[in-house]
Symmetry: C2
Subunit: 189 residues, 2 copies
């Protein structure tokens, strides 16, 4: 029954959000989600297919949450710069662990593409680029888009290791201020 499987997927995502992807094995995973390795294989066919379904569901969750951000009335978000909006969305409690897991997946895929790259959804490598261009169509040069994405990535990773939301958010504000000033002086000239 698809119903049972969907329940399982929810539990499995919750487990992954807490325990990460590296060194994952079926029996602890099953024990941590109140089922058995036998049942996981029964429902998903193999560990590989399980990860395919669960990680796709996880990424769909992220896409859905991001779509909600885009659908908010623009009056609620036009006051803040797009990068700031994206940052606030990313560090919100309901998104933070998901993004943390997504980042772990992407980084594992860099060193072990044979094992992990298959789990990356079609557009996850550049979802950040897509997000930025969706929020800020004025960002036209690839270098600037790459820079903004890198600032976001770098600060999010720093947040993950240090847990210091205050300092990382200040650093982002710092960047936004620099970018705003640069843009202003460019339009003056």
């Amino acid at each position: 029954m698809q119903n049972r499987k969907d329940e399982l997927i929810e539990s499995l995502i919750a487990y992954l959000l807490e325990n990460g992807l590296a060194d994952l094995s079926l029996r602890p995973l099953a024990a941590g989600t109140g089922t058995s390795a036998r049942l996981l294989i029964y429902h998903f066919g193999s560990k590989e297919d399980l990860l395919t379904e669960v990680l796709e569901a996880m990424q769909a969750h992220v896409r859905r949450s991001f779509a909600q951000l885009l659908e908010k009335p623009s009056t609620a978000r036009s006051s803040k710069p797009p990068l700031k909006l994206l940052w606030n969305w990313a560090i919100a409690d309901e998104n933070y662990l998901y993004l943390k897991l997504l980042y772990e997946l992407q980084i594992l895929a860099i060193q072990n593409p044979d094992t992990y790259a298959q789990y990356l959804g079609r557009n996850t490598d550049n979802w950040l680029d897509l997000a930025l261009t969706a929020l800020s169509p004025s960002l036209r040069t690839p270098a600037m888009a790459t820079l903004c994405a890198a600032v976001f990535d770098g600060l999010f990773i720093e947040l993950m290791s240090s847990g210091d939301r205050k300092r990382t958010t200040q650093a982002l504000d710092c960047f936004i201020q620099m970018a705003t000033e640069t843009l202003a002086s460019l339009s003056k000239a």
Copy 2:
């Protein structure tokens, strides 16, 4: 004999540079370095101790290479901004794979600290901060230091996933230009 061990460490580092840390196991590691699992345990005592020694040697290599950069006569480097200097050092062939491995270790330590955090040298979490302040003592606010480190981290990770040295380097130049202009306008006021 320490001699034999040092030879082994060199081979083991080479293996890790190519194959990464995740899903590492003794027998493939031994086969890939021309020895046997038996010998690795004999020389290092355990897999954990082996990783401790090998990863410490790897990080020592990075520190040594970075020290060389600092020791260059300042005439050879004063013309370029510190962040650019650091970037060129990091993407140089003799350093790139080492930093890639170091980044993988740091990110594994985020999600699985029990397994991987022990391999992080005393100061590796903030070696980048140290590097930046060593190269650019004018960077005084923690927010700006965090931002510069994040730009470096983010662009390096983007380089690792895309392999696009040109675009990532352009993005860094973009950031440096913004920072230079901001600094100039601040000193004017």
